[in-house]
Structure formats: structure tokens, C-alpha cells
Symmetry: C2
């Protein structure tokens, strides 16, 4: 019997990762390359074609690739499969990715925003499995988000919905690249952890972090787990501010589950208590008790699995 | 030809208002009474029955009442037509309003949260007519909200969604009745306008507001329109803080229209410019330009018309 398989890709500004995925979410084969950067999109389309051929040749002969899902770090026109705006890959703005790839590869192509795809992936096979309304928050260089309400990914009229990282948590706070001040991204991203550790060092002369040459989010986390007061304070702020933003979402959306992923989620033990305290204080009792706040389970594969899920949905 | 008519009611802690409504949203007859307050819900059910009989007798003979929609100031279990939690009418907590009234009145009964019903009413016949994704904000004693995404009212898992008034806009700000601090309700409601006018009086010795005996939101508005600096500052704060909360919603939901109603919307000319400035500053460009921020059109009838709309939808 012929077994249906899809291709799924995660297209970021640095890496292009791809996998052949079966209908249970099994990753049959992986391939990746550096995202080609040039003045037009031709090289990218070629790289995608090469990786897809590699995946196709690597899977067993009784498997057929039937569709292709792509999670991209961009604002997407989902219905058209078009890239509206890719802040880190501006050469892709306006690219009809779905149409171009359908022609090259010969299967239906779905394109989704990467954070929304990660929300869909976690909802299919990860922390929010089986739940109708969930929010995915990713703590990396920035803070990203994907929202699923009553089983439907929330994309918004222009595909820009889910910008959880730019919820304001301190109106006169730190300037954000988006033009606002006090966005939660400035307090709860991996970048923010390092900035706050630097800023607060002068208040903690005994901190061991001062003596380490390189400051990384992992160093701050390790120091915090060893009781370093500076590191503990950094994660207290990080968790409290994220809690303010999530309390807003609990009050406005009343979701069942909030999934937290991304690199800085590694500091879970140091921030989750402060985060939950803010949600309990600031959100109404009933929705606050309802919203389970849990760690993501799929790591870097959430986006690729979400893209695979969308490809299978397109086939159904 | 027999013309279908529904009953629609707006059940608040103070007044119970009802109307017979035709399928174009025409209000054929209105009736109202003070909301009966007692230790159980029997009186309320009787009052509703009396008003519904009055409406039924008042409409022309070729019209038949076919369904009943109720907008209530409460958290609702929409699918069951049950009142989960009515903070200002705790005697109604747990009441199977739909089942009880269906038995008394003999037509299908729909129950909806009043702010969500108002969002539906404005979407049917008012400011957000014909729009798929809209947000309704009501500025009264508190700040309430109703959200419609892709044509579907957002109720949340427990019916508590849409609590826009408790978005945090000043984390260490004014204490709110909900237990949090710095909720937008503490800066942008009619109540907040009066509080801020009182608080700021000492900084504005020349303000004419000081000399008026009674301080009402309307007095503050009139003074502001006459150039009183205290009043102008109160509405600047009111609009700026509401803008912070709406920028959050623009970033997270990417709606087409935000409709602002309620008594304090009367101060529109004094706050809207400050509100829009915050949204422009804090929300991403594309969704900020997309979201039209406009005044409500249906006044106090938004909730009743939304309830009527739901009753007609139930019949369809």
C-alpha cells in the first residue's frame, strides 16, 4: 500500500530545514542548508528544490510525497501562499512561494507563519495536544506567538495576528525595535535576559556572573540555579513581565493552554513561579485557573511539524 | 403573510429592557422595568414573562414572536443558555435561564454576555456592519469588551473572553477591583475620568472644574471642550491608556475595526487623537493602519439588537 508522506520546511533567516513527514508526524528523513541570501529569491527556490529532491530520494519506495508545507519567518497571506513581509529576508517580500514551488515540485504547497506553525505543531503532537484553544509563546531572540481558537489558527486580516511579543508591559519602559516602548520582548526574550543581566550587574557586586567572560542566557540560568542573586533577579523580572502579558491574553482570550517554548524556556524553574504569580494576580480567577501554562514539547521541530500538519490538512 | 419577530432583552443589574424586533432590526415595541432583586430568581423570571407578554400584545396581529434573545451582564455558558456568574446579580449564578424561559414563553431562548451581544449588534446594524473581525469596547462604569473573529463571537472556554478592561497598561498602577493593578479600566472608564479629575485638581488651580460642585464625566468633557487644562489632561490620559490596550489588541488580533461605545465615548473629540497616537506608536504599521477605530452607532440598543440577531440566527 502506498503511504502518504509530506514535505515540511522551516524557513528562517539563517537556516532552511526540511523533513519528509508521515501522517503520524514521524520524521522519515531530514535535510538542511544555510538559507541562501541574495537580491532575489531564485537561489532560495533552487535550494528548496534540491532539499526536496534529497528528501524524496531518501524515503522508502512505497512512500509518495503528496504535499508540501512551509513555516516561514514572515507575515503570510495564508490563502494565497504568498509572503507578504519577511523582515529578516526582505528579498522575499511579495513572493508567491506557494505558486512558484507548486510549479517546481508538482504538489500542493501551503505556507504559514513560523510561530503559528509551531502552535499548530504543538497542538498536533506536543504540549497542547487535543486542545481546542491554545496559545504558543516562543522565547528566543525575540518573543513570538501563535494562537489557535476553537481549532482555527488566528491569522488576522493581514496575517499579522499573534504578535504577543509586542504586548506592552511597561508603558515608559525599554525602547523596542518595533517603535514602541516596554514590549514584553524587551523583558522576556533571550536577548532581554542578557541585557538585564548586564544592566543589573552593578547592583550585585558579589555575583559570579561578573567574573565569567561571556554572558549567555545559559550562563545566567546556570548561575541562577546555583543561587546567584543577580541571575535569580533577572529571571524574576523575565517571568513577572511575561506573566503580565499572559494575564492580558488570559483575560481577553480565555484559552485552555498556554505553551511556552524557545531557547529561553530553558530557564523554566527560575521564572515559572513568578510568571504564574502575575497571572493569578492579574487575570480573573476562572480563566486564570483554566489556563494551563506548560512547556513546549517539540523543540525546534514544532514549526516543521505544524507545516506538515497543514500539508496533510490540505490533502484531506 | 406571517412576519417573524423576536423578543430581545438587555438584563442589567439596574434595568431590564425588552423589545420586539423584526428581521431588519426594527424595534416594533419597547418595554422595561427595574431589574427585580431578591434572594432567588423567581421574580426575575416573572418580570421577563410580564414584559414579554406586553411586547407580544403590542405588536401587530400578523407578527408572531418566534424566538427570544437575552443579553445579560454576566458570564454565560452560551451553548446551554446558562448564567455562570453574574457579579452584580449573584442570585442568578447557575440559573438555566434558557431552559426556564423556554418553558415559560414557549420559544427558543438564547443567552449571551451583554458586551459580546453589543459587539454583535454593532456588527449587524452599526459601526462594524459587514466586517468579519471587529472589537467592541464599551466605556462605562467599567471598560467592557466583545470580540468577533472571522464572523464568530469569541466567548472563550469558560465564557469569560473579551475582558478588555483588564488589560494591564501600568503594571504598578492604580488598584483595580479585579485584584490586579493598572488595568485600563482604571484609566479609561467614566469612573476613572472622575477619579483622575479629582486627583489632578491640585495641579490645576485655575481649573474651572474645581468651582463646580458636582463632578461628572460630562462636566469634565464640557470643561475640556472649553479649553480647561485639567479636563484636557484627564482625557489625554484616558485616551493614551486606552490606546496602549488597543495597540495590544491590534498586535495580537489584527482586527479590521475597533468600535468604541458607552457613556465615556462622548468625550471622543478630547481623547481620540491621543488614543490613535498610542496605537500608531505601539502597534505594527500594517495592522495599525488596517484597524479603523470608530464610534459606536447603536447607543444603548447595541446589546438588545445583538440579542435579537442571535435569536434570528437560532431560527435560521
Amino acid at each position: 500500500m502506498n503511504k502518504g508522506v509530506v514535505l515540511a520546511a522551516d524557513l528562517g533567516g539563517t537556516n532552511l530545514r526540511m523533513a519528509a513527514v508521515d501522517s503520524d508526524g514521524g520524521l522519515l528523513y531530514r535535510a538542511s542548508t544555510a538559507t541562501p541570501r541574495s537580491f532575489d529569491h531564485g537561489e532560495l527556490l533552487n535550494s528548496i528544490e534540491i532539499l526536496s529532491r534529497e528528501c524524496n530520494e531518501a524515503i522508502p519506495g512505497d512512500h509518495t510525497i503528496e504535499a508540501f508545507g512551509i513555516a516561514a519567518a514572515a507575515v503570510i497571506d495564508f490563502d494565497k501562499g504568498r509572503i507578504r513581509n519577511a523582515p529578516n529576508m526582505p528579498e522575499l517580500n511579495g513572493l508567491d512561494l506557494s505558486a512558484e514551488l507548486t510549479e517546481k515540485i508538482g504538489v500542493p504547497v501551503t505556507v504559514e507563519n513560523d510561530a503559528t506553525a509551531a502552535a499548530i505543531g504543538e497542538n498536533w503532537l506536543g504540549a497542547s495536544r487535543g486542545v481546542a484553544s491554545s496559545i504558543f509563546v516562543t522565547l528566543g531572540t525575540g518573543v513570538g506567538g501563535g494562537i489557535i481558537l476553537n481549532g482555527i489558527p488566528l491569522r488576522g486580516v493581514d496575517g499579522t495576528a499573534g504578535e504577543i511579543g509586542h504586548i506592552c508591559v511597561e508603558p515608559a519602559g525599554v525602547a523596542c525595535g518595533c517603535g514602541s516602548t516596554g514590549c514584553v520582548e524587551q523583558y522576556s526574550s533571550a536577548t532581554a535576559i542578557m541585557r538585564m543581566a548586564n544592566e543589573l550587574q552593578k547592583h550585585y557586586p558579589d555575583s559570579l556572573l561578573k567574573q565569567n567572560g561571556e554572558l549567555t542566557p545559559l550562563n545566567v540560568f546556570d548561575a541562577g540555579m546555583n543561587g546567584d542573586e543577580l541571575a535569580v533577579e533577572v529571571f524574576r523580572r523575565m517571568g513577572s513581565y511575561l506573566g503580565i502579558a499572559l494575564a492580558d491574553l488570559v483575560n481577553v482570550l480565555n484559552p485552555e493552554v498556554i505553551v511556552i517554548g524557545g531557547g529561553a524556556a530553558a530557564g523554566w524553574e527560575l521564572f515559572i513561579e513568578h510568571l504564574r504569580a502575575e497571572v493569578s494576580k492579574r487575570a480573573f480567577k476562572q480563566p486564570a485557573e483554566r489556563a494551563k501554562i506548560i512547556r513546549a514539547q517539540l523543540g525546534n521541530d514544532a514549526g516543521i511539524l505544524g507545516a506538515a500538519r497543514l500539508a496533510f490538512i490540505k490533502l484531506a
